[in-house]
């Protein structure tokens, strides 16, 4: 197993008395695979309400803010001491990324290329590739002042691609984008992942996080309170991960009993004369279908719904607030 892309240990940041990040232990591994072949990267989502410490964590990962205590390793480097090595390998797209409006897209990227110490002959080649990649070739020589929010965000991606990063950190990347722009952006994140780039993104747009992230970490008051795949979180917080809908012709009690006998089923409800929903900790469609047939019922319809991050999030904070109130 190669070393983790991001590893923090008891990472703490205080601003005066205010604790922004409190003893954070976060590990993001490059990919699940063992081999060194080109593997798709991992997309890790940082979730949490505003002020939960997401941006502070990101700044510490980049060495832009010094931790009060604890340690950080990014790609095996210490961001506070080996800043240049970290920043040469990590791309950062800040929340509401800004460019020099009076310069063209290309000129903005040339500056970044030079700051990265890329050789002159390579800069233009990389810029052309990056701009093409994000679909801004037509407007590459227009001043950035004329760009829309979505175009700026895509230019932000081109901007980090120039340094050919191993890790890209995005802070609220889809905030303020229209639905079409957000969808295109998520597609871009997936294609970056296919190239083996690990991506850490922070967001509170939950359905988007769910759509692209392999793993998520839920931040609350400077602590990471939950971490895992969406499925794992659903199981932990809601107790169920899937809700299976079935329509059965002439249902009998035997069918209900058969559902309850399946391992992993948490609850069974009969919704109408013929329809059921079965709550389960994993995807048990095949088992549920078999149960219907075995108990003599005729299966008409079968559907499944994964639990959404929205539900998990809402339920989690409901519980937290409830605990706090009592």
């Amino acid at each position: 197993m190669s070393k983790p892309v991001i590893e923090t240990k008891d990472l703490t940041k205080k601003y005066g008395d205010f604790v922004a990040v409190d003893g954070l232990n976060l590990t993001v591994n490059a990919s699940a695979g063992e081999s060194d072949d080109k593997q798709p990267g991992v997309v890790f989502g940082l979730l949490g309400p505003n002020g939960a410490g997401k941006t502070t964590t990101i700044l510490m990962l980049l060495g832009l803010t010094e931790p009060t205590s604890g340690s950080v390793r990014v790609l095996g480097f210490d961001p506070a001491r080996q800043t240049l090595s970290v920043k040469a390998r990590v791309g950062y797209i800040p929340d509401m990324v800004g460019f020099y409006d009076e310069l063209t897209a290309r000129e903005n990227l040339v500056y970044i290329g030079k700051l990265n110490g890329i050789r002159r002959e390579q800069i233009y080649e990389r810029i052309d590739q990056a701009i093409q990649r994000v679909g801004l070739s037509d407007v590459a020589d227009h001043p950035v002042g004329t760009f829309s929010r979505g175009m700026r965000q895509r230019l932000g991606v081109a901007d980090v691609l120039i340094k050919q990063p191993q890790l890209i950190i995005m802070d609220e990347p889809t905030q303020g984008l229209d639905p079409e722009g957000a969808r295109a952006f998520l597609t871009m994140i997936r294609s970056l992942k296919e190239e083996g780039i690990t991506i850490l993104l922070s967001s509170h747009l939950l359905h988007q996080v769910q759509a692209v992230c392999d793993r998520v970490g839920l931040f609350y008051r400077g602590k990471m309170v939950l971490e895992g795949t969406v499925e794992e979180l659903a199981r932990r917080v809601l107790g169920i991960a899937y809700r299976i809908y079935l329509d059965v012709e002439q249902p009998t009690n035997a069918v209900t009993e058969a559902f309850k006998d399946i391992r992993g089923v948490v609850g069974v409800k009969q919704l109408g004369a013929t329809s059921y929903h079965v709550e389960a900790t994993s995807d048990l469609r095949a088992e549920a279908a078999a149960a219907v047939v075995k108990s003599g019922g005729r299966l008409l319809k079968l559907d499944v719904e994964a639990q959404s991050l929205d539900d998990i999030y809402a339920r989690y904070f409901e519980e937290v607030n409830h605990d706090a109130a009592s």
């Binding site: 240990k9 803010t65 340690s71 950062y92 800004g98 030079k114 700051l115 990265n116």
Partner: protein
């Protein structure tokens, strides 16, 4: 957690050179300065000043030709109604230009939300701040050198004779002093641009400091001298002591330092910038010019003071910027 984190070596000092990327920052900032509309306005202003004052001076000089061995230096210092001399114009144009180059250096990056993106590149903050300062200083040097050449060119055409070696040397030193003086205001405006998040506030604060030294400091210095070293019995020692305290206080102002250094460079007959008693003048040939080396010795403390003030102000901005939170 795995124990791997602890076994990784911790580096005592930061890696790499703090000047990584300095060249790129300087090039970019200079390109910005030289193409900005702000610079255009200032260039027009300063060229008008140069041409106007030189033209007026030339008429004055033609009338009294042959009286002064340093005709070219007179181009800078002679005034004729209604215009003041070029050097007095510079006294307030230099701070104005320097402030306008730097007042939005750092907070401008925050306001455009480019700061975190730039600092996420493999450079240190040192390179960004120093790069911006050096770019401003280079721009100042470029502008003043151009004006210096312009005045010399006009002088050669208008007077019909070439400058001698000492005139060139003295006016080059004058150019250097002017750039150093600009450096102070550049460093001051840059420090304010770190302190204030609004560019307008930083500009206003810089201009307030400039006005303070320009208008009020002399008054304050003489008042303070009267308080610190009062003349009680009207003894000459007391008067002398008060004048000396007043002079020390006045020299805390960069404007005074600049004015003194400039005068000694451009008027070779000036032999002292402080108080001089008639007894000390015994045997001196009045009106005889000092050699360049002696004039240099005369202004050495002023030059040191100007350089030191620039470095101190830059250091202040540097320390504040290093400690600043980057989150926008």
């Amino acid at each position: 957690m795995t124990p791997r984190v602890e076994t990784l070596p911790t580096q005592a000092s930061r890696e790499g050179s703090p000047w990584t990327g300095l060249g790129a920052v300087i090039m970019k900032e200079m390109a910005d300065h030289l193409t900005s509309a702000r610079m255009r306005i200032l260039e027009i202003l300063i060229v008008l000043t140069a041409v106007g004052t030189v033209y007026m001076t030339m008429q004055n000089i033609r009338e009294n030709i042959g009286e002064d061995p340093f005709l070219f230096l007179r181009l800078f210092t002679t005034s004729r109604e209604p215009l003041p001399a070029f050097v007095s114009f510079l006294g307030f144009l230099v701070p104005l230009i320097a402030i306008s180059l730097a007042f939005d250096a750092i907070n401008g990056e925050f306001n455009r939300r480019t700061m975190s993106r730039i600092l996420a590149q493999p450079i240190y903050r040192d390179a960004l701040l120093l790069g911006k300062f050096l770019a401003g200083l280079s721009t100042l040097s470029l502008v003043f050198s151009a004006i210096w050449l312009l005045i010399f060119g006009l002088g050669i055409v208008g007077l019909g004779l070439p400058p001698n070696g000492e005139e060139v040397a003295r006016s080059l030193l004058f150019l250097l002093v002017t750039i150093l003086y600009g450096g102070i205001w550049l460093a001051l405006a840059m420090a304010f641009s770190v302190i204030f998040r609004q560019s307008a506030t930083a500009a206003l604060a810089s201009i307030a400091v400039w006005l303070f030294f320009m208008v009020f400091w002399e008054i304050i210095a003489s008042l303070m001298a009267q308080i610190l070293s009062p003349v009680t019995y009207g003894l000459p020692e007391e008067v002398l002591a008060q004048a000396q305290v007043g002079m020390v206080l006045a020299r805390l102002s960069p404007n005074t330092l600049y004015a003194e250094a400039m005068l000694a460079m451009l008027q070779p007959t000036i032999r002292s910038l402080g108080l001089i008693l008639p007894s000390q003048m015994q045997g001196a040939i009045l009106g005889a010019p000092l050699p360049l080396g002696q004039s240099m010795l005369l202004i050495w403390p002023q030059l040191t003071g100007l350089a030191a003030a620039t470095i101190l102000l830059f250091a202040l901005g540097y320390v504040l910027f290093q400690r600043q939170e980057i989150r926008a």
